[in-house]
């Protein structure tokens, strides 16, 4: 397990850096897909197979297809040379470092809370990943769930409006 974790960690960090660093948007997109798959792997080792499946379906499947499609549609390959100036690089780098240090400190100094819930890995395995999530989703979180459907509807209409030729 630990081996898997380290492999995944190195892979996801590498692919994320490549997303940011690649010149070509298409390359970035492909690296992003890779990172999504790796993340799904993380979910599996955290005993959340359902989320892993969702991750691959929604992110790697739906969203990235959309992104790649847009990149193709707009023929963005010819915009490879939108360069970042040094000034910007310097400030971003600085912020990157400071933010990282702060987040790391934040995590390391965070007060350790003890496990409180009843859904240990064993319970989840016994009951079934999907059933546990489904019960929560349709009981305790039913209201946000319904709202999110409205959000999606709005997004569909909004995307349609934006992509239309004339407003």
């Amino acid at each position: 397990m630990e081996i898997l974790f380290y492999i995944f960690s190195i892979l996801i960090i590498y692919s994320s850096i490549m997303v940011v660093a690649s010149k070509s948007p298409l390359t970035s997109a492909l690296y992003l897909i890779l990172s999504f798959f790796v993340l799904a792997g993380f979910y599996v080792i955290l005993d959340m197979q359902f989320i892993a499946a969702m991750q691959i379906l929604v992110y790697a499947g739906a969203i990235m297809v959309l992104v790649v499609l847009v990149i193709m549609l707009l023929n963005l390959e010819k915009y490879k040379n939108i360069k970042t100036d040094m000034h910007q690089k310097f400030i971003s780098g600085l912020i990157f470092m400071v933010l990282f240090v702060e987040i790391a400190l934040f995590i390391l100094t965070g007060a350790g809370r003890k496990p409180t819930g009843i859904f240990t890995s064993e319970v989840i395995k016994r009951v079934g990943n999907t059933q546990v999530i489904g019960e929560f989703l349709f009981t305790k979180y039913i209201f946000p769930f319904e709202i999110s459907s409205i959000l999606l509807l709005v997004a569909i209409i909004g995307a349609y409006l934006f992509a239309k030729k004339r407003f």
């Binding site: 960090i13 969203i63 970042t84 780098g93 995590i107 409180t116 999530i133 929560f136 995307a159 934006f162």
Partner: protein
């Protein structure tokens, strides 16, 4: 694996995402960096949820995915619309918010 290891990975991912947003001027890449930040947060949620033996964090991840999907549709729609108007997706060329 201890919780902190997952969180450190999530933190690294998050900062990479931030750096991407700040560094890149290509709108699509900026959007992709945002997705990296989302993913970092998702990872953190699932890890903590696993550690605390709760399911609520996972539910949040689902909602974040919903939002991300909606956001993807809108963001890409806006990109297309902007591209149509400006002929470029260089972020610095979009300064209509200036007063």
């Amino acid at each position: 694996m201890p919780l902190n290891d997952y969180l450190i990975v999530a933190g690294v991912l998050f900062t990479i995402g931030v750096a991407g947003v700040l560094l890149r001027r290509n709108l699509i890449v900026v959007y992709m960096s945002l997705e990296i930040m989302f993913n970092a947060v998702n990872l953190g949620f699932v890890a903590v949820s696993n550690y605390l033996n709760l399911v609520d964090g996972v539910i949040f991840v689902i909602f974040i995915m919903v939002v991300a999907a909606a956001e993807a549709a809108i963001a890409l729609g806006i990109s297309i619309a902007l591209f149509r108007v400006k002929g470029t997706i260089d972020i610095d060329s979009f300064d209509e918010l200036k007063l």
